[in-house]
Amino acid sequence: MSSTQVESASRVPSSLTQVRVTMKYTFLDYFRSRRFFILLAIVLLISAALTIVIGYYRPPGLLSSDLSFYSSWWGISAVLLTALFGIFFGGDAISGEFQNRTGYFSLSHPVRRSSVYIGKWLAAFLASSIILVVFTAVTLGNGVYYFGSSLPYQFGEAVLFTWFYLVAVLGSTFFFSSLFKTSSYAILVTAVLFLFAFNLIQLLVANFAQIEPWFILTYGSQIIGNVLMAQYPAHITTANGFGERTFTSYNATIPEGLAIIAAYFIVTAILGLVLFERKEFT
């Protein structure tokens, strides 16, 4: 500090500390919010429905092996739930700072915008992780009930991939949230993309243009379900369709899926941060 600068009463902490502070209080806000309990209720509802249906009907195909069980339970639900976490916790995380005017409270202090962005992202990750832990626990409870405590290593891989996918989903939803100042637009775009558009584009690109959809995040997320299959599906398969038409389907390999997920996180995190840094409180 130069001699002409005024001494401050408090010493402003490092950006890392400010990230932790933002994370702590944003998480507290999430943890007490209606959205957290709605998501928890959805997860418990899905878990209860699966538990009851499997327990009552005991479908032989699903209970034929532990892998088959985990594949049906986790492989189908985890990707959808992760998308919901992104929509619920990421959709308005940044746009809400503008629309709800909370940014005037959190950003008019000696704090970098990047610290607030990262802190909020970590809070969303933590809140999502708690709910994902609940789902994992219910899945494991059922798995242990039917197949004992010996877990297939593929389930561990699938859980890890899901958490990695969550990182990318939240990165992407924070990016879309930074694009808009209106929360409803941000949430709508995120929901449409993750629940419909990505899957539709993936289908059209693969089947009609016959191009591998390596640029779609949900394509990368296929590894979560695929890793739980008895035999990992082939990268490219072709089948004859109507008339002369041949359909090609693609399955991301594990390294490819991980690379797609990582790339989505890195690119969207950088873009989201840049957008948030440049956005003005007008």
Binding site: T4, V6, V21, Y25, G103, F105, H109
Partner: protein
């Protein structure tokens, strides 16, 4: 106004500060240098550029050109350094609804680096200052706008900064709340703070500010002491309002006008207040005060008339249309 910064004096400085939105110029080459412990009222009609200026000083928006400096530090390029000794209240911020005032203020205290051992006391003091003690552990989501504004004011006070940037701090408050905010700002003046405060309330500015800056269409119209502004734009005349402890009779105003050279008129506002116009600056003021005290009517207040500032305001704003 002084042009050279004094050692260790709090200061804010706008250097050619300009903000454009497309073809609309919200702020046009603002040059303003405020330093020292004082309260500066920032006046102007809606859309004049007051909030834009304050947002530029807190890096909530970026300048098209020019610089906003706090204690000589550029707010945009070194925000953490520039705002470390600044308490802000811009527009009416919303607080995360699930948090209580104690938690929201803890967040601010931790962000600003208030030492852990002092946090609890500081928060309780700040909450007490804005009369929100009994609400400190209730969730903010259920608060009225006025209650939230009180917490926002507490947040600005929390780290005991040397500079305050306040954007219409009385907004949303009831008359009692407005009066309390005025008392808080007055007490800050007593603690040697620099307060830069936008307001629509001319009486508020007259009551608590030492200096006034007026802006319209993004251009600074005037920045000077309150008395200089009112005298400069009212033909060299000052207007003061004098309050008396005891009722005054109908002849008092005539005696003052006749008895004090320089007094051009003395008008009875009611049976305990007079509005006196005078020219001749400080020497007339001294004679006038001596005369008033000598009348043994119990002078209890002597302040520049808010109507004088209103006259200047209306005249300057009208001129720029």
């Amino acid at each position: 106004m002084s042009t050279k910064r004094k050692l260790n004096e709090p200061s804010i400085q706008a250097v050619g500060l300009t903000k454009r939105y497309g073809s609309f110029t919200a702020l046009d080459s603002l040059n303003l240098n405020i330093e020292g412990s004082k309260c500066v009222g920032f006046l102007g009609p809606n859309g004049a550029g007051k909030t834009t200026t304050l947002k530029l000083f807190t890096d909530l928006i970026r300048a098209t050109s020019g610089e906003a400096l706090v204690n000589g530090v550029n707010v945009h390029t070194r925000k953490k350094k520039a705002l470390e000794s600044v308490g802000t209240l811009i527009e009416t911020p919303e607080i995360y609804p699930s948090l209580t005032p104690r938690e929201a203020l803890s967040m601010v205290a931790e962000t600003r680096g208030v030492p852990a051992v002092e946090r609890k006391t500081r928060i309780e003091e700040a909450v007490s200052e804005v009369r929100m003690d009994e609400w400190v552990d209730k969730r903010v989501g259920k608060f009225s706008k006025g209650m939230k504004q009180r917490i926002n004011i507490a947040a600005a006070l929390l780290s005991d900064p040397r500079i305050f940037l306040l954007d219409e701090p009385s907004t949303g408050l009831d008359p009692r709340g407005m009066s309390e905010v005025r008392d808080i700002v007055k007490s800050l003046k007593g603690k040697q703070r620099l307060i830069f405060m936008s307001s629509h309330l001319l009486s508020e500015v007259t009551d608590i500010c030492d200096e006034v800056a007026m802006i319209d269409h993004g251009k600074l119209l005037v920045y000077d002491t309150l008395s200089n502004v009112t005298s400069r734009f009212s033909g060299g005349e000052n207007v003061v309002e004098v309050g008396f402890l005891r009722p005054i009779d109908g002849g008092v105003n005539g005696r003052i006008a006749a008895g004090v050279p320089g007094v051009t008129s003395a008008e009875r506002v009611d049976d305990r207040n007079l509005r006196i116009r005078f020219s001749g600056g400080a020497s007339t003021q001294e004679r006038l005060l001596s005369y008033l005290v000598g009348m043994n009517l119990g002078v209890i207040s002597y302040k520049p008339a808010s109507s004088a500032l209103e006259d200047v305001y209306l005249s300057l704003i009208k001129d720029t249309k």
